[in-house]
């Protein structure tokens, strides 16, 4: 979806202002928010692409007015509500009102193994890659209303294949519960002047990771 999360190239947000000696968390609630988000992966009710979609799928006003952990809070609440793990009434009242669903729960002694395993997205494939390093490709013009990882600022622009990564889970499908549908993943390099014209930095380039179906050959 073309939401506020797709920020590349927008202007007017001002300077980047790093915080000196920034703590890892700004308050206890951020600690709990991170931990709950990670722990609630264990029940297996959603995947990472569904999580990203739940975070970005909100009005731009809402997205931009939240800090990042507040976006996570909204995303986690939405996912759990959609799956019937909690109800809106429970979230508003802070009390459990409905019976629990029978789902697995992360135990303390499983944490280390879960984090070490992570969630690799590469999948075996027999399909040959359509492109090779050096090929010229155009990022397709598209505007899906659902989750995608092709940023607006590269759509329609021509770049060069820079790296091949094997086949990876396709987020556009996986986020919608339509299966992993792995596709070849490439890194595509775009010149600054291709993306931003005369206003771009001619000595800068931007590389994005793009799945096969995001791309079309340029002869």
């Amino acid at each position: 979806m073309d939401g506020a999360h797709d920020m590349g190239g927008h202007q007017g947000f001002g300077k980047v202002e790093p915080e000196v000696n920034e703590p890892i968390f700004h308050g206890e609630w951020e600690r709990r928010m991170l931990a709950m988000t990670l722990a609630m992966a264990k029940p297996g009710q959603w995947n990472i692409d569904m999580s990203r979609y739940a975070r970005e799928n909100r009005s731009p006003r809402d997205y931009l007015n939240r800090t990042y952990y507040e976006v996570w809070l909204g995303g986690l609440e939405a996912l759990m509500e959609e799956r019937g793990l909690v109800s809106r009434e429970e979230l508003d009242s802070g009390q459990a009102l409905l019976p629990r669903k029978n789902v697995p729960v992360l135990k303390p002694d499983e944490v280390d193994a879960m984090l070490r395993r992570g969630g690799p997205t590469e999948r075996p494939t027999d399909a040959p890659a359509r492109f090779k390093v050096g090929d010229r490709v155009r990022a397709r013009v598209m505007a899906p209303t659902t989750h995608t990882r092709l940023p607006r600022y590269v759509r329609g622009h021509v770049g060069t294949i820079e790296l091949l990564h094997g086949a990876h889970v396709f987020p556009d499908s996986n986020a919608m519960g339509r299966g992993e549908a792995p596709q070849w993943l490439y890194t595509v390099r775009f010149d600054g002047s291709e993306l931003w014209g005369e206003d771009g930095d001619p000595d800068a380039s931007v590389s994005v990771d793009a799945w096969d179906s995001y791309l079309e050959p340029v002869s």
Binding site: M7, G8, Q11, F13, G14, K15, V16, E17, P18, E19, E22, P23, I24, F25, E28, W29, R32, A35, M36, A39, M40, N65, T67, Y68, E70, L73, L85, E90, L91, S93, G94, Q95, A96, R100, V105, K107, P108, V111, M114, L115, G118, G119, P120, T121, P151, L163, H165, H168, V169, L185, T187, R189, D201, D203, A204, S205, V206, S207, D209, A210
Partner: protein, 215 residues
């Protein structure tokens, strides 16, 4: 916390930020946790374990050790560039948000900078959790359009002829910048070299410290 960095975006009610609003989010998170615990969806001890991991075990010191080893050991440097994920796992760093890592090398000709314009993708296994600025709109919007302007914001100026390569982490590939090794560090131990490697130098919004800065 203090200052503007965290809750600087006002709030979704349109009036000025104050403490009661802060506590509104806190209350909401507290309510969520008590429901999840009451319903048996989370074990509080597992939450504590997760927090402790990212507060004490997984952070930019991991990445700094990788860089210091790459600076010191040519064979390791080659392995890191060829396939970073197993090379990094040799040092025990692996897993969540570091499943597929590519190392990109800064040279006098090329400076690399990593961003995630769509969310907050970041190589957790080597850098820990991302700082607020990395996840916030100014960096995510500006890095791909005006990377030299971003470096200005960080007080970093590069030679005019240095090209800048920005990597937008739009998939599950995570990018780790290998900063240039500072001059005057010949014969330094890996442990000492690691002190020169800052988090920002591995994101590409900074450069490694000079020896005089850690003396």
């Amino acid at each position: 916390m203090s200052g503007h960095d965290h809750h600087d975006h006002g709030h979704h009610h349109g009036h000025d930020h104050d403490h009661s609003e802060l506590s509104e989010t806190e209350l909401r998170v507290r309510a969520l946790e008590s429901i999840l615990v009451e319903k048996g969806y989370v074990d509080p001890a597992a939450l504590d374990e997760l927090i402790q991991t990212y507060e004490t075990k997984v952070g930019p010191r991991n990445g700094a050790r990788v860089i210091a080893k790459a600076w010191s050991d040519p064979a390791y440097y080659d392995r890191l560039l060829k396939d970073a994920t197993p090379a990094i796992a040799e040092l025990g760093y692996e897993g969540r948000q570091g499943e597929h890592i590519v190392a990109v090398v800064n040279t006098p000709d090329t400076h690399n900078m990593v961003v995630c314009t769509l969310c907050s993708c970041y190589p957790w296994s080597v850098l820990g959790l991302p700082p607020v600025w990395y996840k916030a709109a100014p960096y995510r919007s500006k890095a791909v359009r005006d990377p030299r302007g971003v470096l200005d914001d960080f007080g970093v100026s590069l030679p005019k002829e240095t090209r800048i390569k920005v990597w937008d982490s739009t998939a599950e590939i995570r990018y780790l910048v290998v900063p240039m090794r500072p001059k005057g560090t010949k014969g330094w131990s890996e442990e000492k070299l690691a002190d020169l490697v800052t988090r920002d130098s591995m994101i590409g919004t900074g450069v490694a410290r000079m020896p005089a800065e850690v003396a």
